[in-house]
């Protein structure tokens, strides 16, 4: 709070303070022409100021919105600061948005200005201009390909800054006066969230939201001004805005912009960040890349790596479960550190990481344990746009597999009677732009309805079970969270997809899709012959394999007070893969429950009946559009109520 009281109550004011206090410290780097080009805080402030004045020369007034579209580029971060300095509101958009989405947001946000990276974005905006009558100017950074454009609404960033310089001469006090007029409770940014239903909503966050919440997290996590982060996630995502802009401006640490989307992994290695965030998908990719290279290595090396990874993971698992790792493993760890973990960390570009986060969705325990066992401090973070990205983080030294940590300083968490997580914090947004109805539904007396079902465990850790609207109850009244169970099942390499059922039923059942590659490989190693996916899926050995996985999930539920009543009682393995072409899952691989309940009604009835097999005939759509029929006898396995 001290900064706000000291008059440093907006981000551009903090940028100016950085330019005064640490003028020569590197604020931001960008890899351009093969070289990391660095800009100091003084340059950061200068450029933001020139851009601000240029926008002022074009007529940007207090409260005007400026769309920001492009890859992570220093110029675009400067444009954010420049817009804020005039009291304008930056609206970052996803650079890969299609025209329809872009048109909706640019129009809804009433953007008068757009600052974009290159020709690609200019083309999209020019196409949708008819639908966005308020859009007056498009400022572009990269001049490549722009030579032939003559539209008067276009202006290059260089020209814009020149105009700014002229304004600085004619009205020397203008910028400082505008900067001084800004206050903590001005809207600093509008982040549009896609949401799974309806039109995107523009979440308004103030300077105060992000200064207080950003600082609380900085203090709890011990972040310093010598951190290095890689800004590679979309600028439109609130996380990037907090980690690569707000926290950087607050502490003065350095942000690094990769050369292109295709070079991120390489740039990661070159920079060696100390503070890093990635969704589970990216952690997964990193792990796969490592394992592929390990499998390609010569046999003795491979054996060495597997042995030491095993040691480290056993230690980490013990720690995560609060047990003491065995003595001989602890003795071996330093050797593994020298031979395997250190070099591997270095190769991943993670040697210097002090704090890393995974957020967005549940991460597979194997992946989480893998990175932690290498000595990389990966932690789970829980937050959303409405909370300035920050609600809860696992504290250093108190990391668990299945929680998202304890609330950050200033955050209060409450569980509603329906089991929904509610929170209140200094970071809570002020409302959705031009959508009072949605604001009323989400924000009640300062509490935000997260839409997630969860609870606080005995140790004070927040545990997220599922989306609140997916949570239901069994016929006996026990709480049942299908996605929670499905995720646990899918953490098994053998399970590709799973659908759990149980609402208003006596017990929980599951439809399982095996992973053809993993199970096929497993079968080959055991000499189990099979002809097709359908054949493989119905092998008794495969049922035994999957039963082990189901029992594992059931056993892990026992640790859970709230959910232990909803164990899986019966399951079957589907004779075909769930496929977006058959409309069973969406293109982004989300299960379409309603459709499946209808299509597989016979199977589901059988799961709740007495038989142990059920004949099926299924329509499949081939890639060329033809349809065919699969006939099979699907077995049903009752795992009983006992656990392993």
């Amino acid at each position: 709070m001290t900064t706000i009281e000291a008059g440093l109550d907006t981000f551009p004011k903090l940028v100016r303070s950085n330019a005064e206090r640490r003028p020569h410290k590197i604020a931001i780097r960008e890899k351009d022409l093969g070289i990391w080009q660095a800009y100091t805080w003084r340059q950061y402030f200068d450029r933001a100021r020139r851009i601000a004045l240029g926008l002022a020369a074009l007529g940007l007034a207090r409260g005007d919105k400026a769309a920001i579209i492009g890859d992570n580029r220093p110029e675009l971060y400067w444009a954010v600061a420049g817009t804020q300095a005039l009291g304008g509101v930056p609206v970052p958009l996803y650079q890969d948005s299609i025209e329809k989405e872009l048109a909706y947001i640019v129009d809804h946000a009433e953007a008068r200005f757009a600052v974009v990276e290159d020709q690609e974005q200019v083309d999209k905006l020019l196409h949708i201009r008819a639908q966005c009558p308020r859009l007056e100017y498009i400022v572009y950074d990269d001049v490549r390909g722009m030579r032939a454009y003559s539209d008067p609404c276009l202006i290059s960033l260089a020209e814009l800054e020149e105009r700014g310089d002229k304004l600085a001469v004619s009205q020397p006090g203008y910028f400082d006066a505008e900067l001084a007029r800004g206050s903590a409770d001005d809207v600093a940014i509008i982040c549009y969230t896609s949401g799974t239903t309806g039109s995107p909503k523009g979440t308004m966050l103030t300077h105060r939201n992000m200064i207080v919440m950003g600082r609380n997290a900085i203090e709890r996590e011990g972040l310093r001004d010598d951190e290095e982060v890689l800004a590679y996630l979309p600028m439109a995502w609130v996380g990037d805005h907090i980690f690569s802009y707000a926290q950087s401006v607050l502490t003065g640490f350095t942000v690094n912009c990769p050369e292109s989307a295709a070079t991120v992994l390489h740039d990661l290695k070159e920079i060696g960040p100390t503070y890093f965030f990635a969704p589970p998908r990216i952690w997964e990719n990193l792990l796969t890349n490592v394992m592929i290279r390990v499998e390609d290595a010569a046999r003795p090396k491979r054996a060495l790596v597997h042995f030491f990874l095993g040691v480290a993971q056993a230690i980490e698992r013990a720690r995560l479960h609060g047990r003491t790792p065995s003595a001989w493993r602890r003795l071996l760890y330093p050797l593994g550190q020298a031979l395997v973990y250190g070099p591997l960390r270095d190769n991943l570009g993670m040697r210097r990481i002090r704090v890393a986060y995974t957020a967005g969705e549940a991460i597979g325990p194997e992946i989480f344990v893998f990175f932690r066992s290498l000595g990389i401090n990966v932690k789970q973070l829980y937050g959303m746009t409405e909370s300035s990205a920050l609600v809860a983080i696992q504290p250093n030294g108190d990391v668990r597999l299945d929680t998202v940590g304890t609330p950050l300083p200033g955050v209060e968490i409450r569980i509603s009677e329906q089991g929904e997580v509610l929170y209140r914090s200094p970071g809570v947004f002020v409302g959705y732009f031009k959508n009072a109805e949605a604001t009323r539904q989400t924000l009640q007396d300062g509490w935000v309805r997260s839409g997630d079902a969860g609870f606080i465990d005995a140790a004070g850790h927040l545990k997220i079970i599922d989306r609140a609207r997916d949570v239901s109850r069994l016929a006996g009244g026990t709480i049942f969270a299908p996605k929670y169970l499905e995720n646990k099942l899918k953490f098994s390499p053998y399970v590709k997809e799973a659908v759990c059922l149980g609402q208003d039923r006596p017990f929980v059942t599951a439809l399982v899709n095996i992973d053809l590659a993993a199970v096929g490989n497993w079968a080959e190693r055991r000499g189990i012959a099979y002809t097709s996916y359908t054949d493989l899926s119905q092998r008794p050995e495969v049922y035994d394999l999957i039963q082990q996985e189901v029992l594992r999930v059931n056993a892990s539920l026992l640790e859970d007070e709230v959910l232990k009543g909803a164990r899986i009682r019966k399951f079957l393995i589907l004779h075909k893969e769930l496929d977006p072409d058959d409309e069973e899952i969406t293109r982004t691989r989300k299960v379409r429950r309603g459709f499946i309940a209808q299509k597989y009604a016979a199977l589901i009835d059988a799961l709740y009946g007495d038989g142990d097999r059920v004949p099926v005939q299924a329509q499949v759509t081939y890639e060329d559009g033809r349809t065919g029929t699969i006939r099979a006898d699907v077995k049903i396995r009752d795992v009983g109520t006992a656990t392993r």
């Binding site: 022409l33 093969g34 490549r144 390909g145 050369e259 295709a262 070079t263």
Partner: protein
């Protein structure tokens, strides 16, 4: 346009003929390449397109006829001299140094612009260092332009075919040519790779003002990107005009679709 101020066409080919033994590969072919244009040379297999490109780039010497480049006669120059004049080319079959990185491959495109000194180069000192940095910067601009940053350090031989073609274009561009000759730049590419390559060709032409002559079989591509089309058949030029004119030309239709011989 970046060409010298001399007026007139960039390249004039006057009545050249090339023969391999008894085979007349080119017969009295004349054509002009104007400054700043994209010219497509098309024709059925064996029409003499690559031969024509080879004559222009000095690999073959015409049996008769003259070639003028930027107003000066240069009928009998050798390939290095042609390169020095400002003509660069790519090959029908990719001709990269497979074991060398993409970056080094493109650097070779600047060899003619380097002034070597064995001692200074070995010590990497003074002018040698400055020179290499300047060349590297020029190469990096091309890497950025063609969006191949991610493969900068990859050995060229490991790349998929479409990217190898792009690297070859990069190497040709590194010579900062006035005239760029592309021999089937899109052969063997899928639709997406072709679209990318079209965009790069148009961008090179638009941004650097480089004059481009290309051989291409994909008529869609030819009609979309070229300002002018020259059609060869059995070593003779049978048409020369805008894509629209050529499309309607009876001689061209006959050459491509065949005529009934009664």
């Amino acid at each position: 346009m970046s060409g010298p101020a001399t007026p007139g066409p960039l390249l004039e080919v006057e009545r050249i003929s090339v023969r391999f033994g008894a085979l007349m590969a080119l017969h009295q072919v004349s054509l002009r390449i104007e400054r700043g244009e994209i010219l497509a040379i098309i024709g059925p297999n064996g029409a003499g397109k690559t031969t024509l490109l080879n004559v222009i780039s000095g690999f073959y010497h015409p049996w008769e006829g003259r070639i003028r480049f930027a107003g000066r006669d240069r009928t009998r120059l050798k390939p290095p001299d042609v390169a020095e004049l400002g003509i660069a080319r790519t090959f029908q079959n990719v001709a990269l140094f497979k074991g060398m990185s993409v970056l080094d491959n493109i650097m070779t495109g600047r060899l003619l612009k380097m002034r070597g000194n064995v001692v200074l180069d070995a010590l990497w000192w003074g002018p040698a260092q400055r020179q290499e940095l300047a060349h590297r910067a020029a190469v990096e601009r091309i890497i950025d332009f063609l969006e191949i940053q991610a493969i900068r350090k990859t050995p060229a031989g490991k790349l998929p075919y479409g990217l190898q073609k792009r690297v070859e274009l990069a190497r040709a561009l590194a010579a900062e040519p006035l005239l760029l000759l592309l021999d089937e730049p899109m052969a063997g590419m899928n639709v997406e790779e072709k679209e990318d390559m079209c965009r790069f060709i148009l961008d090179v032409n638009g941004e650097f003002g480089t004059t481009i002559a290309l051989i291409e079989h994909d008529m869609g591509v030819v009609m979309d990107i070229s300002d002018r089309v020259v059609v060869l058949d059995y070593g003779r030029k049978i048409a020369d005009g805008t894509p629209d004119q050529v499309r309607k030309d009876q001689a061209v239709l006959d050459a491509y679709l065949g005529v009934a011989h009664d």
